[in-house]
Symmetry: C2
Subunit: 234 residues, 2 copies
Amino acid sequence: MSDTPAPRTARAIARAELTRAILDSASRQLAEIGPAALSVRAVARDLGMASSAVYRYFPSRDALLTALLIQAYDDLGAAVEAADAQVTERADVDGRWTGICHAVRDWANDQPHRYALLYGSPVPGYAAPDDTVTSATRITGALLTLFRDAQAAGLRPKPARPLSRAETASIEPVRSSVEPHLDEEWSIRGLVAWATLFGTISLELFGHMYRGVLDYDAHFAQVVDQLAADLGLA
Amino acid sequence: MSDTPAPRTARAIARAELTRAILDSASRQLAEIGPAALSVRAVARDLGMASSAVYRYFPSRDALLTALLIQAYDDLGAAVEAADAQVTERADVDGRWTGICHAVRDWANDQPHRYALLYGSPVPGYAAPDDTVTSATRITGALLTLFRDAQAAGLRPKPARPLSRAETASIEPVRSSVEPHLDEEWSIRGLVAWATLFGTISLELFGHMYRGVLDYDAHFAQVVDQLAADLGLA
DNA sequence: GCAAATCAAGAGCAGTGCTCTCGTTTGTTT
DNA sequence: AAACAAACGAGAGCACTGCTCTTGATTTGC
C-alpha cells in the first residue's frame, strides 16, 4: 500500500504532499457530486494549479478514481473492523454480526456516492485492478472471520441444502480463506447472508424500496436479525 | 404509458418513428458501451441528423436515459413474466421461482450494461421519476404474485423472527400489494429473498465474487435452491 | 558546477451537453 | 385558398471535459 518508505528529498516530500492534497480534494468532490461528475480540472482548480499538472501525479482520471476506490474500501473496512472490535465479548458473535452489518449500512448512508462507487455499477470502461481486490478483502475478511469464530464456538446455521458437486468446488476459495476452514453449510449460509446484506443496502440506497418499505431503519434491523437467526448466531 | 392513441398526421407519424429510431440507436449504444458513454451526438451521427435535432424529441440526455430505463424495466419484466408463464403447472411454485430467478440473471448477463442501469448506481442525479416506478413493479409484482400463490397453496416458509412493531408497519405496502394479503412471515422471507437474489446477481456482475467464487453458474443455482428451501417452496 | 530528471503552466485537440437562431415544412384556421 | 402558428432540421456557438505536447523554470544527484 504505502510504498513511500522515506521521502527524503524536498521534492519527494512535496510530491507526497501534493498527491495527498489531490486525493483529498478529489475525495471531497466524490462525496459531494459523485464519481460521474468528478473532474480533473475541478480538482486542479480547487488546488489552484493547472489541470495538466495533475497528470504528473495521476496518469488518468480513471487512475484517480481507482485511488479513491481503494481509499473508500479501506475506509469502509476500517469502519467495519472498528465495529467488530467494539464488541469486547468476542464470543458474542450475534452482537458482532449486528455491529458489522449496521456499520456497513451507516457508512453507506453517510456517503452514498462512495458506497455507489464500491458496490454500484462499475464506472466507465473500468478495469478493476488487483490493488482494489486486496483492499476489498478487508470487509469480507471480517465477515469470514466472524463465521469462522461462530463455527469454532460450535454454533450451526440452519440446515442448508446439500451443495452440488460444482458448487462444492466453486466455493473452495471461500472455505479455505480462514483457519480452520469453513464447512459447507457455513460457507453457503455465509455467502447468502453476504449477498442479502449488500443486496438490502443497495436496494435501499438506490431507491428500489421506494413506497414498498416505509421504514428503512426498521427493515434493515429486521433483515439483519433474520440473517442472524438463519446463520444460527442468535 | 402509450399516450399516442392515433398518430394521424404525417408529422405525428414521422415524430413517432423518429422517436423510436432515436430510442433504438440509444438502446444499442447503451448495451454496447454503457450508460456513462452514451452520447446524444453519437446517436445523432448514427441517425444522420444534427445533434440539436435530437433535443426536439428528448429534452436532455437524462430524459433519454430515463426512457431507456423504462424500456429496460419493461424488457426485464417481460422476460420474467415469460419465464413464469412458461411453467404450465402453476402449482409448481418451486419451478416458477427457479425460472424467474434464472430469467433475471440470464437477462443481466446478456445485457450487463442495461442491468447496471437498473440496479447499479443511479446515474442522473438520481431523480427517479415516478414513470420508472410503475415499470419496475412488473418484476417485483411477479415475485409477489408467486409468494401469494405459494401461501394460498398452504406452503409455509421456514419460521422467521417475529417482526418488530416498526417493521410490521413498515412493510404494510408489501403485504397488501396482492390479494389475499401476504402474512408477516411470507413478507419478510420474500423481502429477504428479493434482496438476496439481486444482491447475488449484482455482486457477481460487478466483480465482487472475483476469485472468491469460481463457478458463477453453480453458485447462483445453489443460492436459488437455498432460497427456495428457506421460502418453503421445495 | 553541470547535466539530467522533474516539475508547473499554457496552448491546443477532440469530444461532450446544451442553447439559440435561422429558414423551411407542416397543420390548422379563417 | 390564403394566412398564421407551431414544429422541424441544421448550423453555429458556449462552456465544459479528458488528455497531450511543448516550453521554460527548478531541483536533484553526480
